[in-house]
């Protein structure tokens, strides 16, 4: 399992709107496809994504099978204080992955 790719600006001015980009490696098996043996491949997707800024939730997403493999997200937040922006993905079959990035706000 490779680490998620996170793009958070290292520095920002207080009050700036910053873009956060995330890309995580995952098949996002829909559960609607048949394997070469004719058997339905069970669903295996990431179902939820959550982003917190110094512990406070700033963005949350529910994924469905219609999300393409290797889910990619860009979203925005206001740079309020220096600290940690943390990311968490959870999904089928106990899938869980976390990542975090530091930001300096001056």
């Amino acid at each position: 399992m490779s680490a998620p790719l996170i793009n958070v600006p290292a520095r920002a001015k207080r009050g700036d709107v910053i873009a956060i980009k995330t890309l995580i490696s995952h098949e996002m098996e829909t559960g609607f496809r048949y394997g070469t043996n004719g058997v339905l491949i069970p669903r295996d997707i990431i179902t939820a994504f959550r982003c917190t800024y110094n512990g406070e939730e700033i963005f949350r997403a529910d994924f469905y099978p219609a999300i393409a493999a290797n889910p990619f997200l860009t979203f925005y937040t206001v740079a309020t204080a220096s600290g940690t922006i943390a990311f968490e993905w959870t999904g089928d079959n106990g899938y869980s992955q976390t990542a975090s990035a530091k930001i300096v706000v001056g």
Binding site: G38, F59, R60, A66, Y76
Partner: protein, 163 residues
């Protein structure tokens, strides 16, 4: 050579495409291919589950999606909502739906005044040429929407097998 996108009956072309998918997957299957696709009615039901009895008005939302997509397996889209994003007036959630994938839901995102900008980008799969709808829920309880008709030349084939 375009068939009517609203016609739910399987056309000869779709049956042939389905047969092609089965053949490509390399296994024999009775010819009655299950039609696992959502319909415009399923999408309407999914939207009702999100908005309840509220009236969904067109406007304020901009769904950016290429009108012609070559590969339905990865289609990037951006939803942007006009909103000051202040504690008094902000976008609570944005939901994206499609008409003809096996399931009508694509993604639901939840945000708040701390987002600063009510916008996000992601990538979807599209199983057919279809309509994609984005609905925004505002803090005052109103719902706004935008939709795009997309033509997909290579669909995310639902009967596809993995190697």
């Amino acid at each position: 050579m375009m068939r009517n996108a609203n016609d739910p009956t399987p056309t000869r072309r779709r049956i042939l495409i389905g047969a092609g998918c089965v053949a490509a997957a390399g296994f024999p299957l009775p010819f009655a291919v299950r039609d696992a696709r959502a319909t415009p009615a399923a999408m309407a039901t999914a939207i009702r589950q999100v908005v309840g009895e509220a009236n969904v008005k067109p406007g304020k939302v901009k769904l950016d999606l290429p009108p012609l997509v070559e590969n339905g397996n990865t289609v990037q889209f951006t939803v942007t909502v006009e909103s000051p994003m202040t504690p008094a007036s902000y976008v609570k959630a944005i939901h994206v739906f499609n008409e003809k994938n096996p399931q009508p839901n694509v993604i639901s995102v939840h945000l708040g005044p701390r987002a600063g900008r009510a916008s996000f980008t992601s990538r979807t799969r599209l199983a057919d040429s279809e309509k994609v709808v984005a609905i925004a829920e505002l803090s005052d309880g109103s719902f706004w929407s935008d939709s795009v008709e997309v033509v997909v030349t290579i669909a995310a084939c639902v009967e596809d097998g993995i190697p």
